[in-house]
């Protein structure tokens, strides 16, 4: 397919995002859908990174994953494997996956499977562990490992069975559309979507006859307790949408944004798999009492894939309850944020209509040209990790990608098209 202008190519790319039909169909062990995930292989968030350059929480997650898989007896053994280069790292993004915060994913972790039925591609993400001491923020305590095993042995299989009772799985666009009208923006706030998800799966879970009552109750309790459960589903959905869109290798629409704590990486459609990176910023936000910006880890995680499809910080105005995270705070600031985001995006997504924005659709398809032209950077809503592994989340706020990513991307694309400086 040939496109005469970049505008035409960009429209086509965004159309492919918007025209996606994401369905949550299954929860499976990671190695069954990602053949690269064998022993001693870990996935991580963001663009490629070496172990020694990872921030402490991501390194802590690696230790946790190794202990979970049983590749080492204890922390010391795990560290030795890591420090001696015995572990192979692959970015989640390279294997159709995304991962929150550290994004550390190993072969036996359960993943949600989102199928883009319009284009036939799939995308994967780990299950949300809840808040507090969790692997994605670098904790690897017994409590964390015990939960991970329960998720592998109980939560994953039960959800898989529940989803399989549905003919087609769960239509995610419908869930998102419902929840956006209930005040979610799918990055900072997922409570409505998580409840809508629970509403869909609860009857199926409770009627699973081959699962013990105790397991069913535990799964129901876990889903009821986990406000951010849907975030990981939203991330896999966004990945399924953007991977479909990036089959069109033309134009300047951003097809991925992610961070590894060291670098922020973006991809644009016209440059295919190439990452354009620059050092990450540190999020600005509100901290739990006792913590401050000094304790904050640098920007980390693949969750900015939600902003890539126009939700999260892009759709700030959709979630009045979280708008006070924005700068000085308040509804008008949120409105201004989304209005600004509309200026750097290709179009509104009619599937994700935002009532609080006078029923405009989520601003979708970040055009790297417009970012550089206007200097308006995408706004990413994010959790803030403690820079020391184990402390977990210490706050939440917003962060911007470094503009250099976008400058590098459009310069490279112009060069590809024959531009000579």
């Amino acid at each position: 397919m040939a496109y005469q202008t970049i505008d035409e190519a960009n429209k086509a790319v965004v159309q492919k995002m918007i025209g996606s039909a994401p369905f949550l169909t299954d929860v499976v062990p990671a190695h069954t859908v990602i053949p690269e995930l064998t022993e001693h292989v870990l996935l991580h968030a963001g663009p490629p990174i070496k172990y020694e350059n990872m921030t402490d929480p991501m390194q802590g997650s690696c230790v946790g994953a190794i202990l979970f898989e049983g590749w080492a007896e204890d922390e010391q053994g795990a560290r030795e494997l890591l420090e001696n280069g015995k572990i192979t790292f692959i970015p989640c993004h390279h294997v159709n996956a995304v991962g929150p915060m550290g994004g550390i994913t190993s072969m036996n972790m359960p993943l949600v499977v989102v199928v883009n039925k319009e284009h036939g591609n799939e995308a994967y993400c780990t299950l949300n562990e809840g808040i507090g001491a969790v692997l994605r923020f670098g904790s690897y305590s017994d409590q964390v490992l015990t939960r991970l095993h329960w998720m592998k042995d109980v939560l994953g299989p039960v959800l898989s069975k529940a989803l399989k009772t549905m003919d087609e799985g769960l239509n995610v666009n419908v869930l998102v559309a419902k929840a956006i009208a209930m005040g979610d923006e799918f990055h900072q706030r997922n409570i409505a979507a998580s409840l809508a998800f629970l509403k869909e799966v609860a009857p199926a879970i409770t009627s699973l006859e081959d699962v013990s009552l105790k397991d069913r109750q535990e799964v129901m309790q876990f889903l009821a307790d986990t406000d951010q459960f849907f975030l990981n589903v939203a991330m896999a959905t966004a990945k399924a949408m953007t991977d479909a869109a990036r089959t069109i290798e033309h134009g300047t629409i951003v097809t991925a944004m992610c961070r590894n704590g060291e670098n922020f990486g973006i991809r644009i459609a016209g440059m295919g798999d190439e990452w354009f990176t620059a050092p990450v910023n540190t999020p600005q936000g509100l901290y739990f009492t006792g913590y401050s910006a000094e304790d904050a880890n640098t920007d980390i995680g693949d969750s900015a894939i939600t902003e890539t499809i126009g939700v999260g910080g892009m759709a700030m105005i959709a979630a009045p309850a979280v708008t006070r995270f924005v700068g000085s705070g308040g509804f008008n600031d949120a409105l201004e944020t989304s209005n600004n985001m509309a200026e750097i995006t290709e179009q509104e997504n009619p599937n994700f209509i935002i009532p609080t924005w006078d029923f405009k659709g989520a601003p979708t398809g970040i055009d790297a040209r417009k970012v550089v032209e206007s200097g308006i950077l995408p706004v990413i809503n994010t959790g803030i990790a403690h820079k020391v592994a184990g402390f977990g989340q210490i706050g939440a706020g917003t962060v911007n990608p470094p503009i250099e990513c976008f400058e590098k991307a459009i310069s490279a694309y112009a060069a590809k098209l024959g531009f000579e400086a």
Binding site: G132, L286, F288, G290, R324, G329, N332, I410, L417
Partner: protein, 583 residues
């Protein structure tokens, strides 16, 4: 000491509580405080922050828990009250909807209500690009920006003309569109005199004199100083004259310019001879050699204004110049010089012309002087040479004060002249800035038993914010002689040193009526016969005048594309204009 408050069965969103925690922790006498719902995960966070208490463990997930660390127990009640106040509501942010401002074209066009005029005051390097955007969006352009290459001006004006649009400028400092003052402009009564001018202060002088004579100007269209150059060919002036001619409310058309290239002057005069309305033409700097049926040729700005008023009254033109008599001055033999320090460039040119024509000293060409001879000097302090990195002398008195002081001490100085141009864009009270210096130099001359005449003229109307009469009174109180017009001031100065300005002798000459096409685009008629709807790109202060006169304006806070990075700008230009099969 840790204190725990539990509010049972009370729910608040975590963000409300985090903001509240910050507020409480900032209270005097409180070491730290945290407010959260009593969920198991939050209890861990309390403990992690060193705020774990036995009471905390009893809280349920539906309770708000407050843990306060303070040495002062009385603070606990204060914290409790603060929490109650916050939870009672009203804690919302108090920012009201921000006024509508844009920072790109798309937004500006959305916010504006049927916009038809773009005012551009951004750096010259970018001004042409944005003027082109404005024209392509169907807007007339008022370009205050200077340093725009002449070839860009030609291109923009040709493009605009094709589309029935007007480009005023570049380097256009003054304009009145349907009584809405643009940029550096006075508030002038409405009326049936239509003005087109290639010079800013020339327009200001003529329109304010017209106002003070009891008539008015509804449209004064600035063309920019280069419009009558050979290359530009008076595109804007010709279109403006046609528009004023078609406007039934205009009775007299007044044209002001420096003497243009001969072929351009002919083109303009041919058009003026084709229309039936009375016309006053001033090509400032040249002595009119003849008068004609269709056009009254004026010599000075005051003459152009008076002639316009008389024609508007249906009278014959009869201009009698005036000067102020009876000024006590007894100059010694060294005192021969007139020193003039202007903020208005055209006023300086007028003074230079009159001095040159009447005193006959040989002119010494020198950069930075509008006119210089052995005895006299006329300086336009608004010239680029004096404004590098400094505000314009209409805003900043510093350079003028310096010149007043040095020239007053110079033994050849007899007369000092200065202007005070008031109105939008100018200093709020320039008279009070200059008065102390005038007083000091006149007092000093008196104490040395030396004559020194300081003449001043105020360009403005009683509707200008600075107050025309007030500005005159302040200057007069400092010892300056106040002249009604620049023409009168220069004549008075010349007479004080024994000279006389002769009015040019003109004979009647007859010309055939011109046959120029007088049709004009509807968009131009609409511009001058309605309140403009303005998009102001650049200096925000320009919006005030537009708003005060009841017209609509949207502020476009312009920033250079890609932060002004030239390489990225080229990349963007390449990508935005790229066409090809292999995108």
């Amino acid at each position: 000491m840790l204190y725990t408050i539990i509010k049972e069965n009370t729910y608040q969103d975590s963000i409300v509580l985090m903001l509240l925690s910050q507020k409480l922790s900032a209270m005097d006498g409180v070491d730290k405080a945290s407010v959260m719902m009593g969920t198991p995960a939050n209890k861990d966070i309390f403990k992690g922050a060193g705020l774990g208490t036995p009471e905390l463990e009893t809280a349920s997930a539906n309770d708000i828990v407050i843990v306060v660390d303070t040495e002062d127990e009385s603070k606990v009640d204060e914290v409790n009250e603060a929490v109650d106040t916050e939870l009672a509501g009203g804690g919302g942010s108090d920012d009201s909807a921000k006024s509508s401002e844009a920072h790109n074209w798309k937004r500006a066009l959305e916010l504006a209500n049927n916009p038809n005029l773009a005012m551009i005051s951004i750096p010259g390097t970018y001004a042409a690009m944005e003027a082109e955007n404005a024209i392509r969006n169907g807007l007339h352009v008022f370009m205050f920006s200077d340093n725009v290459p002449k070839e860009d001006e030609v291109r923009l004006k040709e493009l605009a003309h094709e589309k029935g649009l007007l480009v005023m400028g570049p380097d256009c400092g003054t304009g009145i569109i349907h009584s809405v003052p643009l940029a550096f402009t006075n508030t002038v009564a409405q009326g049936d005199i239509g003005v087109v001018g290639a010079s800013g202060t020339g327009i200001q002088e003529v329109t304010t004199i017209v106002d003070r004579l009891g008539k008015g100007v509804t449209n004064a269209i600035g063309t920019g100083g280069r419009d009558l150059s050979t290359e530009v060919g008076a595109i804007t002036m010709l279109d403006s004259i046609k528009a004023l001619n078609q406007d039934p409310k205009v009775k007299v058309i007044t044209v002001i310019s420096k003497p243009p290239a001969k072929e351009v002057q002919e083109k303009v005069e041919n058009l003026l001879r084709s229309i039936d309305k009375p016309v006053v033409a001033l090509f400032l700097g040249a002595k009119p050699e003849y008068q004609e049926e269709a056009i009254y040729h004026a010599y000075t700005l005051e003459e152009a204004a008076v002639a316009s008023v008389q024609l508007s009254n249906g009278e014959e033109v009869n201009f009698t110049p005036s000067s102020i008599e009876g000024i006590k001055a007894d100059f010694d033999e060294n005192q021969k010089g007139i020193k003039a320090y202007y903020s208005g460039g055209t006023l300086a040119s007028e003074a230079a012309m009159m001095i040159k024509h009447s005193l006959g000293e040989e002119e010494i060409k020198d950069e930075g002087f509008t006119y210089k001879s052995a005895s006299h000097e006329v300086i336009d302090l608004g010239d680029d040479m004096y404004t590098q990195g400094k505000p314009h002398p209409m805003i900043d008195p510093e350079k003028r004060i310096e010149k007043l002081e040095t020239s007053a001490d110079s033994e050849d100085t007899a007369v000092i002249m200065l202007d005070n141009v008031i109105g939008y864009g100018s200093h709020a009270d320039m008279a009070s800035e200059l008065a102390p210096t005038i007083k000091r130099i006149t007092d000093k001359a008196a104490s040395e038993e030396r004559s020194l005449a300081v003449l001043a003229t105020v360009v403005g109307t009683d509707k200008d914010a600075q107050g025309y009469d007030k500005q005159r009174q302040i200057l007069e109180g400092s010892g300056a002689v106040i002249c009604d017009t620049n023409d009168q001031m220069v004549r008075t100065a010349i007479e004080l040193i024994g000279g006389k300005v002769a009015q040019p002798e003109t004979a009647m000459k007859s010309f055939d009526k011109g046959t120029e096409d007088l049709s004009v685009d509807e968009k131009m008629m609409s511009l001058i016969s309605n309140n403009p709807s303005v998009i102001n790109i650049g200096l925000k202060s320009f919006t005030e005048a537009v708003e005060n006169s009841g017209a609509e304006v949207v502020q476009f806070n312009w920033r250079p594309v890609a932060g002004g990075d030239e390489k990225l700008m080229k990349v963007l230009q390449f990508l935005n204009n790229y066409e090809g099969e292999n995108v």
